[in-house]
């Protein structure tokens, strides 16, 4: 057996060597000796190349057939467009007359603390006269955006007037106060920039921050220590900090708590860490400062230190719309890139003319400011004595903000209690105050509370009435609750 295998092997070997040693195998090409083994090598090379060129095995792609897509589409069930509401939404009281310091609700006259009518200009004769003449001349609407014949001379007059009043080179007028901040922020801050904002800013600013796609860092509400730490953190951690634009966004008087921002400290921090400041003066314009020029006058900071100042005209100026003021370059940039300005119809001319008249009245009657300051301090003193409610707003803020001393733990229940208080105050004592309602989209986590907007048009007796009523009602509601 072994012999047969050996014989077989020998003959195969002899055959192979014979084939390799064949005369044709010993050719000479280009001076190289080609042995027969070269054919084997070439053959192996060809086999290797063939295997490499084969595609690796991939499972075949099977796109969904039309029938399968149809089935998926039939199976898919969308959620309802809106989630079902478990409770009835809050129905606000309906005013039957102008929203002045006194107004009529359900046929009864009430003292109105729910309108941000700080200078008491609602119903002022001069304002109404200038509006009537503007309505006769221009009609109601402006029928076009600012770029396309919607710029009416009263708009330009107002912009010049407000710039002169505040001492800035230029200003720009927006058709709606709400849209001012959420158009101004994305016009300047883009993806990759850094914004440090107070956690208590209102929704329009939050939306502007979101739309700008910048990195937003919030600091503790009105806490300068937290702001300093945040700025320190950002500047030390970020190596590319010098190449990025950096902003601090604060409000002068916070809508959500009534606190006043310490502008001089913010300016010091801004200079140290080289940030730019955007200030929203909706509730401080026409209120703070010796002549009503806002937080800059009140804190003694020159307005040139601030880069962008915005304000809503629906508060002290008793008109509608908003404006933004700053250096010429800042304003010119917004005229081309601010979406709420370029893509929207402009402010109705009668409102611009009302605002100009309001500024005139403010300049001619500085006693309105002192009356307002007096009213605020009287009310603040009285309301700080209410058991169960605590004032969180600053002493000079025109928004007096009361929150529950002992929270129930859930915002919804707090809101319920506060609404009861406000409702009873309205029904029993004809004092109209409001509770801060929050949207589900609002990120602000500050406690809810009762807000009173103080006006220069309120008399001392109105203030007494309000404080007595709140004392009585809160004792009843909170005492019963406890």
């Amino acid at each position: 057996m072994a012999e047969a295998v050996m014989n077989f092997l020998n003959t195969t070997l002899g055959w192979v060597t014979g084939a390799l040693d064949m005369p044709s195998a010993r050719a000479q090409v280009f001076g190289f000796q080609i042995g027969g083994h070269l054919f084997i090598e070439v053959f192996l090379l060809v086999v290797i190349l063939f295997l490499l060129s084969q595609k690796s095995y991939k499972p075949p792609k099977r796109p969904l057939t039309n029938k399968e897509i149809d089935e998926l589409c039939d199976e898919w069930v969308p959620e309802p467009l809106i989630p079902s509401l478990n409770e009835e939404p809050y129905e606000p009281p309906v005013l039957e007359s102008a929203a002045g310091p006194h107004t009529v609700i359900n046929g009864k006259e009430v003292v109105n603390f729910s309108s941000a009518n700080y200078l008491g200009l609602v119903g002022h004769k001069k304002l109404l006269d200038s509006c009537s003449s503007a309505l006769d001349k221009y009609g109601v609407g402006s029928c076009g955006p600012r770029g396309f014949y919607g710029t009416i001379d009263v708009h330009l007059d107002f912009e010049a007037r407000i710039a002169k009043f505040l001492g800035t080179p230029d200003s720009i007028l927006y058709p709606f106060g709400f849209s001012t901040m959420f158009s101004a922020i994305p016009a300047f801050s883009k993806k990759g920039d850094i914004i440090v904002a107070d956690e208590g800013v209102h929704w329009a600013i939050q939306n502007g921050l979101y739309l700008s796609r910048s990195t937003v860092v919030y600091f503790k509400h009105n806490d300068m220590k937290s702001l300093r730490e945040t700025l320190e953190n950002i500047t030390s951690k970020n190596k590319r900090i010098d190449k990025l634009r950096r902003y601090i966004v604060v409000e002068a008087v916070y809508q959500n708590s009534g606190q006043i921002a310490p502008l001089d400290e913010i300016i010091k921090l801004k200079e140290k860490y080289k940030f730019r400041v955007l200030l929203d003066e909706s509730n401080s314009f026409g209120v703070l400062g010796k002549s009503g020029r806002g937080l800059t006058e009140y804190s003694g900071v020159p307005i040139e230190e601030l880069d962008i100042v915005t304000a809503d005209m629906g508060h002290a100026l008793a008109a509608e719309g908003g404006f933004c003021t700053g250096s010429t370059r800042v304003i010119d940039h917004q005229r081309l890139s601010s979406s709420g300005y370029v893509f929207s119809a402009s402010l109705p001319p009668y409102l611009a003319s009302a605002a100009i008249t309001a500024i005139d009245i403010l300049e001619e009657n500085p006693e309105l400011l002192s009356k307002l300051k007096n009213n605020i301090s009287v009310l603040w003193k009285e309301l700080s004595k209410i058991p169960g409610l605590k004032i969180t707003s600053s002493k000079e803020s025109p928004i007096v903000y009361l929150r529950l001393e002992k929270s129930t733990g859930s915002q919804k229940d707090d809101l319920c209690l506060l609404e009861k208080i406000a409702q009873r105050a309205l029904e029993e004592d004809s004092v109209f105050v409001v509770v801060s309602h929050r949207s589900t989209l609002d990120k602000c986590r500050l406690p809810v509370g009762i807000r009173l907007f103080v006006s220069a048009g309120h008399s001392e007796s109105d203030l007494w009435r309000a404080s007595e009523s709140l004392k009585k009602v809160s004792a009843q509601v909170l005492g019963g609750h406890n």
Partner: protein, 432 residues
């Protein structure tokens, strides 16, 4: 939007009401258009640029006295949000009126049209939802969609078959990366597209959306009040039942001569919006005189003021638009837009022709609006004409004359003009 060289073509101030004829303030510049200063000179021009479709822009005999009365009663502003102390009896009346005009169960009104879109979409849509919007939608819709955090997909302008394709693909694929099914899908279209003048193909789009269970959102900023037999917008014009459109949005700036925007929908939707929409909770309520202007102008349109001025206005705007468009086309201009649409863009194509067209027309006392990048693609610049019911036939003839002359000068008659009209005695008269 524009370099300094033709800055004077945009933002021209006016010093009168934006009616059919208005006063354009002349501006001069000492530094090559870097800054433009107002002069005291004005020129009386024909207004082809303002959105004044039904002619309510200036003082109106029915509306203005009522507006002034409301001004005296309620003052120009309530200084308060709707949910605080800004809801007056007038606001509630306005909402009921708008709902009945638009033929929906309920409506909610805001102080500004732009904010209406930007603040509603984040409330309705959130993470895990899909927004499919037309490629030429307005900036406010784009902003609102971005602010909502939902995924945005775009379908080719006004092509329902592409919308169907996108819907099928998206429902089958699900959310990106996780492939979970979408929570909800909403399709956003406009009634009349402001840069094209086209009507949206609403019946086909609604049919597609119903088939795939997507919600629909119709933005009627330019079409409400301007089209339709009784001015109720594209739904009336195209015969679509308003119950098929989930949310209808519109603005009052164009046809009603006022300001503000509205959303109309079912009672539940409006209740939910009143509960949580930020524009309702935090934005100042609409100015009472503006609200009264809307109510009065709707009354005029419906004929409830005792006259037939409303019907006359609606017929006039339709007649004017169709006449103007056909005449321009006969002259050889390339005019976009559908019949009955009061918006007609005249193509210029070359951006260098924009200042030429605009300035020459102004020299002849016709004020036109020219649109450049980025509102339109760079090489598709156009001049956009907005016809109004307050334009008389003579006004239109003058406009046609001037536009034809300037068109020849600038060279924008891209199509051959219609053959010259022949008179009986064989003499050809230039049809100008």
């Amino acid at each position: 939007m524009c370099p300094y060289t033709f800055k004077d073509c945009f933002g021209r101030p006016i010093s009168s009401a934006p009616d059919a004829w208005f006063d354009v303030v002349e501006r001069y510049s000492n530094d090559n258009n870097k800054t433009l200063k107002r002069s005291t000179k004005v020129s009386r021009c024909l207004n082809l640029g303002s959105y004044n479709y039904l002619g309510f822009a200036a003082a109106d005999e029915y509306c203005t006295p009522r507006v002034i009365e409301t001004l005296k009663k309620y003052s120009p502003s309530t200084c308060s949000t709707r949910v605080d102390g800004g809801t007056t009896a007038l606001h509630n009346e306005l909402e009921k009126f708008v709902a009945s005009f638009v033929r929906k169960p309920a409506a909610i009104v805001f102080g500004m049209g732009y904010v209406t879109n930007s603040a509603i979409l984040p409330v309705l849509m959130g993470k895990g939802c899909l927004i499919i919007s037309d490629s030429l939608n307005h900036n406010s819709i784009v902003n609102g969609a971005r602010g909502s955090g939902a995924v945005i997909r775009v379908f080719q302008h006004n092509i329902p078959s592409h919308l169907e394709e996108v819907l099928r693909e998206q429902i089958a694929d699900g959310q990106p990366r996780t492939h979970r099914p979408w929570k909800k899908i909403i399709v956003i279209v406009e009634g009349i597209y402001s840069m094209e003048g086209e009507l949206c193909k609403l019946p086909e789009i609604i049919a597609v959306c119903k088939k795939y269970k997507a919600y629909t959102y119709l933005d009627e900023a330019h079409s409400i009040g301007a089209v339709g037999k009784t001015g109720r917008g594209v739904c009336e014009l195209l015969g679509v039942d308003t119950a098929d459109v989930d949310i209808m949005m519109g603005t009052f700036t164009k046809s009603f001569g006022s300001c503000g925007g509205y959303i109309a929908g079912s009672e539940e939707v409006i209740k939910y919006l009143k509960y949580t929409c930020p524009a309702h909770l935090y934005g100042t309520s609409i100015s009472p005189p503006a609200a009264q202007q809307i109510i009065s102008s709707i009354r005029v349109i419906l004929g409830e003021d005792g006259s037939n001025r409303g019907a006359q206005k609606l017929a006039k705007i339709r007649e004017n638009s169709n006449f103007f468009r056909s005449e321009l086309q006969k002259m050889g201009f390339e005019v976009l837009g559908d019949n009955d649409s009061p918006v007609m863009p005249i193509m210029l194509y070359n951006p260098a022709k924009i200042p030429a067209f605009s300035r020459e027309c102004l020299k002849h006392n016709v004020a036109v609006v020219t649109v450049a990048f980025p509102a339109t693609p760079l090489l598709l610049a156009r001049a956009r004409i907005c016809i109004s019911a307050s334009h008389s036939r003579e006004d239109l003839m003058k406009a046609l004359q001037v536009i034809s002359k300037v068109g020849d000068l600038v060279g924008i008659k891209y199509f051959p003009a219609e053959p010259l009209k022949q008179y009986q005695d064989g003499k050809a008269v230039k049809y100008d």
